[in-house]
Amino acid sequence: GASPLLSLAATDNNEGVSLAGGMRPLVKYPGKRDLILVHSRPPHLETPFSVFNESLITPNDAFYVRYHLANFPTEIDLKKYKLNINGAVNKTLQLSLQELKSMAEPVDVVAVNQCSGNSRGYSSPRVFGAQLSNGAMGNARWTGIPLRTVLEKAGVSPEAMYVTFNGLDKPVLPTTPDFIKALNIEHALSPEPLLAWGMNGEDLPFLNGYPLKLIVPGYFGTYWVKHLSEITVLDTEFTGQDSYFMNTAYQLPDNDCLCVTPGSTAEKNRPISTLPVRSFITNISADDTLSSAKPIELEGIAFDDGSGIKNVDISIDGGLTWLTSTLGESLGRFSFLPWKLTVSFAQKGKATVMVRASNNNGEVQPLRASWNHGGYRRHAIESVAINVI
């Protein structure tokens, strides 16, 4: 498999990921700048990694796009749009966006949305699925109201177990499962999940789920259902054909490492959930040439599930010794956290710069990536191979 060490050169839209069909083109979609094409129907677009060096907040026009099902709306009329709340509730609700906006004082959260398959292209051995580099993530300020506000208004049954979320996207054939995700009732009633209409002070971009998106801070992007149109409270398990994307896809081995030996299968699986601690260097990329004559300030980002970043350590000698970076100002515990460290390269020639984050939950990024069938949840230490002159 390809290694992130190999090439992240700016002109290479594969960003170090080799593909059967060759290069992924840059494409222009509505409301977006040029992004890397993963799939066109339904659209799946990756953010070029250089964007993460521009700002801590990922601009709306650069934010990655992911759909699963090709039968989704390309036109939405707010006069007709409704959010339906039904199932094990006292009273079903049908809310317009305007009604939702006036139900409670809007709240903001800055949170990272990372795709479960971010960096899947570096899985070794390789697995089928979207061959992503590291750009299927973004950090934005989301504005909306807490999910629990609408659930409380509907009156959740004391027997409730799960809440499911469906959007306006539909499968092309009826034999294909719909894309529906579930949260357990405690999580759904916690203060964290939001029903958001705002992203970085604007309406959600169409392709990121206009007019309403479920925000699940600290959880992988698969739960952040787009074009949200139906919330169903269940007093049973979530089963049936349309539970596929919850119960069959997006599964991890249910063991301590959430991994298996390549080729083997786990006895039990469980749905993917929270973000493991992860960090990147954003201001250098593979094959860059750096000078030994003067110090250089390295910069980057770290994030996790909201436990809080403890340290971000840097190695410029391929992992032999580690230096502690300075953490920047926090935009909130679910946000990218910036870090900086000034380093000097004493020797000329090839060097490997590595970044390793730890969090308040005792998690530390591992040196080697573990493996699972879906190529999910990659969070191994990132290495950047450079030349020093």
Partner: protein
Amino acid sequence: VSQAYAAVETTIKKITLPASTITLPKSTLPGYNLALQKCTICHSVDYIHHQPPGMDQKAWTSAVLKMQHSYGAPLSESDINSIGAYLSVVY
């Protein structure tokens, strides 16, 4: 512009998506024509084109089988084998 007209304009958002430009590699194998017909029903062929290189016939055939058993793709057993064989040759 009347107020009613302005309000109508702002309640509708509409986008137009660019067409797919990626095509399947041509081949005289029977799987090529089958793939053209069957693999574009639910998604564009970049789903196939942008997979890892070097997947063998067994891996491609099981990827096609997944389309039938997980997503209900209308494929016979012989379709699955022909398409798997074609994909392992061209990719």
